[in-house]
């Protein structure tokens, strides 16, 4: 559950920060993510940063989704990549 959206941390003090998405800014508590750095994209839920977005992982999943869009899928048989169980 839960509405949590990724926003960019643009300012921080010891326990608090300001996050931004598409020009909308919000105060956020960093009590649950004390090591967040300005410039990180963090997941915000009910006014708290609860996790950090891993840019590398994000790029990988986007690339995967782009391949599904661009390459199309073989009608019969597997998609053209290793099926090692770590992802589609």
């Amino acid at each position: 559950m839960c509405l949590a959206i990724p926003m960019k941390l643009v300012e921080r003090t010891e326990f608090e920060g300001i996050v931004e998405l598409d020009g909308v800014r919000r105060r956020v508590s960093l009590m649950l993510l004390p090591d967040a750095e300005v410039g990180d994209h963090v997941l915000v839920h009910t006014g708290y940063a609860i996790g950090r977005v891993d840019e590398q992982e994000a790029a990988e999943i986007l690339e995967l989704f782009r391949r599904y869009a661009d390459e199309g899928i073989h009608e019969f048989g597997e998609a053209p990549r290793n099926d090692d169980g770590d992802g589609p």
Binding site: C2, S29, M31, L33, G47, E57, F65, A79, P88
Partner: protein, 364 residues
């Protein structure tokens, strides 16, 4: 609307085709369960159910925290709210849920003070600004929401804001999963709960129950990717855990949040609508925080009244789809909800009423 790679029509179509391909290799019809209200909503909103092949059934489990909260808990909340000087602070999700004696919205119309907040911090600030009031925050939600609530409580402790209390009602996921594991072939795991718990929290599902689990994000592409991972494992007969939301979910999760939870709460036996009492599945306040515990305040409670004919319980553990309830779309609609599954926008009945009844192929 701006172009969004997670909602790209071609990506969705590509994933759906791959799902159809893999589904042909399934040994038997399968049931996949999501246990997250936001997944229920996302699936319904994007019409993903209609993309499933005929041998893949997607069901909603007890993932809506509002829906699984028993009527007796809400009765206690309202009883507290009727006490002079008490202000109930709540997320918007709870405001229209029926209790044995009406909703929070009705309580407000009758003079009760109900503050709708977006964050538990707002409730703490309200308490600080109104020292004459006893502010009771209605604590619902799963592992995503419990840490922010614990953090707000810690802040109230640190700042000496003594008029901020909780009515503990948070629940944790492993309990119901174990109870339902025999009934399904795979679980879609809630992505944001997993941010807190870590993906490894669900390892027990394949290892102890032989059921695959896939941690999923909430966009259409994310959900389909997780479904695909589950179907691949079922087709190969190799139960396991996959993390499809690695961009925010790590194996170990948020340690800071977990530590704060452990300092604030302890496992209690909790009643889940539809599942009965599950040992250790609730979060109660630790003895040291008894002064913050509104459930210790004596109040008069009515006999809990579950509406006659309501089958929320059966819907919540996936035994029936919403149309299987005799009240669905007749006596029970979003405008006049009888049970919690219809009130909450995350509830399976509300989602079904709004979206699934009309599921059709889009005209070209």
């Amino acid at each position: 609307m701006t172009a969004d790679p997670f909602r790209d029509r071609r990506t969705v179509a590509g994933l759906a085709r791959e799902i159809a391909t893999v589904a042909r290799r399934l040994p038997r019809p399968v049931t996949l369960m999501e246990v997250c209200g936001t997944h229920t909503h996302a699936i319904a909103e994007a019409g993903l159910r209609r993309l499933m092949p005929p041998n893949v059934r997607l069901v909603s489990g007890p993932g809506c925290p509002v829906c699984v909260t028993p009527v007796s808990w809400l009765d206690r909340a309202l009883a507290l709210g009727r006490e002079r000087g008490t202000v109930l602070a709540t997320f918007g999700d709870l405001v229209r849920v029926p209790s044995s004696t009406g909703t929070l919205e009705e309580l407000r119309a009758h003079g009760g003070h109900v503050e709708i907040v977006y964050s538990p911090r707002d409730a703490v600030e309200f308490a600080a600004a109104h020292p004459e009031a006893r502010v009771v925050f209605l604590a619902v939600g799963f592992e995503t929401t419990a840490p922010p609530i614990a953090a707000a409580l810690a802040e109230a402790e640190a700042r000496g804001i003594s008029n901020f209390l909780l009515l503990p009602g948070n629940k944790t996921m492993p309990g119901p999963l174990a109870a339902l594991a025999d009934a399904v072939d795979g679980f879609l795991m809630p992505g944001h709960v997993s941010v807190i718990t870590g993906a490894e929290a669900w390892r027990f599902l394949p290892e102890r129950h032989g059921v695959s689990a896939a941690v999923a994000g909430f966009t259409p592409a994310d959900v389909l990717a997780a479904i695909l991972a589950l179907l691949r494992r079922i087709a190969r007969g190799e139960p396991g855990l996959d993390n499809l939301y690695g961009r925010v979910v790590t194996p170990g999760g948020n340690r800071e949040a977990q530590a704060l939870l452990a300092r604030t709460f302890e496992p209690t036996d909790a009643e889940w609508r539809g599942l009965g009492v599950l040992p250790g599945s609730g979060l109660g306040l630790r003895e040291g925080l008894a002064h913050r515990d509104a459930s210790r305040i004596p109040v008069d409670l009515p006999e809990p009244r579950e509406p006659a004919g309501c089958r929320c319980g059966d819907v919540l553990h996936g035994e029936i789809d919403p149309p299987g309830c005799p009240l669905f779309a007749g006596a029970c609609t979003p405008e006049r909800p009888v049970g919690a599954c219809m009130v909450s926008s995350e509830g399976a009945c509300a989602a079904w009423y709004r979206h699934e009844r009309w599921a059709r192929e889009a005209t070209e």
